[in-house]
Symmetry: C2
Amino acid sequence: MKAPTKAQLARAGRRDRIVAAAREIAEVDGWPAVTVRRLADTIGFSQPVLYGHFPDGRDGIIRAVALDGFGRLAELLTAADGLGELCAAYLDFARAAPATYEAMFSMPTDLEFARPTTPEQLRAGFAPLLAAMGDETGAEILWSALHGLADLSRHDRLRPGHAAARVDMLIGLFRPGRLPS
Amino acid sequence: MKAPTKAQLARAGRRDRIVAAAREIAEVDGWPAVTVRRLADTIGFSQPVLYGHFPDGRDGIIRAVALDGFGRLAELLTAADGLGELCAAYLDFARAAPATYEAMFSMPTDLEFARPTTPEQLRAGFAPLLAAMGDETGAEILWSALHGLADLSRHDRLRPGHAAARVDMLIGLFRPGRLPS
DNA sequence: CCCAGAATCTAGCGTTGCTAGAAATCTAGC
DNA sequence: GCTAGATTTCTAGCAACGCTAGATTCTGGG
């Protein structure tokens, strides 16, 4: 099982095309526009082929986009240097790929976090937060604040034009050494 | 137009029953289970009657549940005394009525916040946060942190059993006089 | 008692996620 | 190179969804 068959490669490539197509359609037209029929048309195959790749159907495809998003976010957060860059990277990701962010945090209930069975991509994203705060509870609160800012901004529930002021104050609040007892 | 007709009263009562049924079904079985057919069966009328009350159909009904939720949340926050009670009331509401909270914050894109046309229920909920922080930017950050905690908890993405520790640290962070410049 | 107008229902359209069974294609052995 | 078997892919269709036009039943004023 060392050499991947040509068929296996084609299969893997097609899986990637499905996930990429789902993400792109979602970012452009929103998740309701991501139908199994449209995905099938996009990759040039019939619908049952998608179920060969994702037995859970549409939900499985959304979950794949979410997992991929967690991987990319973890890379960005790991590369960030310092609390300021960390916050900026997080919020930039959410702003640049709102539909992906939605898939990661609002759509599937069944991704396991903070559990023994948590997938690697999900742990990797939390590690830089933990490193920046030095404390698990503090890291969870920072994450909550960032997620709250991203989510409320995405739904236009914060004053536009004040994003920079909010980030500045957030960084000031969570600056090292300011965590209470 | 002073005295409401008997028919008008019946109509208003039926509207309330639709909203209440939608909320209850959502809290028990989740929003996907809230179908127009099931709502019609629940109130004992056929589907077109629902469209007489809510021209926007299912979306309009969800929006009504969300608006009602904002009204109830605003009452709770207004009654709270001090930062600690405020945070506890917010998080309790989100934990006790997760589907309502989901309707308020995750489902309809077209409720207007932080805009000139923002409905009254939505402004009323923000006022106690503003009073507690004394600063609009600070209030937005506190709201973001609370929403983040509520949303991440709802999806089981924070360590269970540490909710109290998180709230304690949050209150310590946002304690009056600690806001940076 | 009748009859206009409002309220309600029946029935159906188009679309969705998903799947069983037919058809086509590829693989392996000779 | 050919054929039998296995695998992949497609066609066609089901049930359920949101929503709506037209038929039908109620209701209240004369």
